[in-house]
Subunit: 206 residues, 2 copies
DNA sequence: TAGATTGTTAATCGATTAACAATC
DNA sequence: TAGATTGTTAATCGATTAACAATC
């Protein structure tokens, strides 16, 4: 396993995983073939078979894969067994939703702290997670060895928060503010612009 | 313009657009070259030039593109000039953030109504947008000719809401619930699983 | 003119798909 | 055995990159 996984394959693994996770508990206990997955997702079966072969060696002729094993194999490649702390900057609706959500754990992520500049919010507690002042971001991240940050602040503040995160040793930033963020080398930013996602989906698919 | 735009090119257009939008007002008034964009984004310059040539014919040797014109050309291809109504199902933190955000308009989207099944939320008003009961989803969408929906309900309810949207004539669904949704043919679903996005970013980039 | 930039044609590269042998 | 499925090798396809002529 873990042969030569191309970036294309890598981007399809989450799709396979979430499809498998959507199966009924009954079906999760059984087997599944690459052919069946391909059909359900509208993909070429050889492509799926090749993708699966790159992360698992559990495929057997006539039987397919044991669903649970396949999920765990994909999960291992996607790093669900790792444990990484994550901080969230910006405690508006969006940021609070992140702290209230407990589903990150299954994927290996622990949301450990929220940050905000509004003193009304600082010192509070959301879903058992503390909210601190943004000025404490750097010391907190350094002390707790945090490398992943989520930005949910207003557009105007996003670049500054991004710079601060980079300064604090954060290496991966998921940005939900609707602005393109420029980060220094060594820091990977994923700009998740919902308007643009919607435009791609609605204007360019059909 | 609008020659033969490949899907790869299409997926880069939003990146170019948001990069251009991030420039200072001063620079937005001037020109910009494909070379400069490529350098800023870490892409191959020929690729950027080819991408831009497919949406605009305004490139001039030694000068580049007029920034404002280029943005408007990209915007036209991405459909920012269209006007599409959008409904949001699920008025938790996530859904409320959608209704409170006004930035969709610049991209051609009007969030027209929120839906929920909780009677405490139904009948309220968020940022001037009404919240109705989920049972009214179908009639509302049919009457107002709505084809785009955003799902921000809890995981357990997402598939049912998806089915209802499909029934209501929705053709494009942006799903933020952390479950894979299966939609009937003719309905495009984009499953935006934040945990998986984070995993791809943090485990597979570096 | 020289230099920077464009757009295009051809070459390379990589990913998808087709064909097929292997296996349970 | 026949059939379903796997994994692999070879062919096709498409996208990226390199080379270059055109232009301001």
């Amino acid at each position: 396993m873990d042969k030569n996984i191309t970036s294309q394959t890598l981007s399809r693994l989450p799709v396979y995983f979430s499809y498998l996770a959507s199966l009924s508990d009954d079906r999760k206990k059984g087997n599944i073939s690459a052919t069946a997955i391909a059909e359900a997702l509208g993909l070429n079966d050889v492509q799926v078979r090749k993708d699966l072969a790159s992360v698992s060696s559990g495929g057997r002729p006539k039987v397919g894969y044991i669903t649970a094993e396949l999920m765990s194999d994909i999960g291992r490649v996607l790093g669900f067994d790792n444990r990484d702390g994550v901080v969230v900057a910006g405690m508006g609706n969006f940021g609070r939703a992140m702290l209230e959500y407990n589903g990150f754990q299954a994927y290996g992520f622990d949301i450990v702290c929220g940050f905000d500049c509004n003193s009304d919010r600082v010192g509070s507690n959301i879903n058992g997670r503390p909210v601190r002042h943004i000025d404490e971001l750097e010391s907190f991240c350094r002390e707790n060895d945090i490398h992943i940050g989520i930005i949910t602040v207003p557009e105007g503040a996003a670049q500054e928060v991004c710079d601060r995160m980079a300064e604090a040793g954060i290496r991966f930033i998921l940005n939900f503010a609707a602005v393109h963020l420029n980060a220094p080398k060594g820091v990977a930013v994923h700009n998740e612009n919902i308007s643009l996602t919607l435009a791609m989906l609605a204007r360019c698919t059909g």
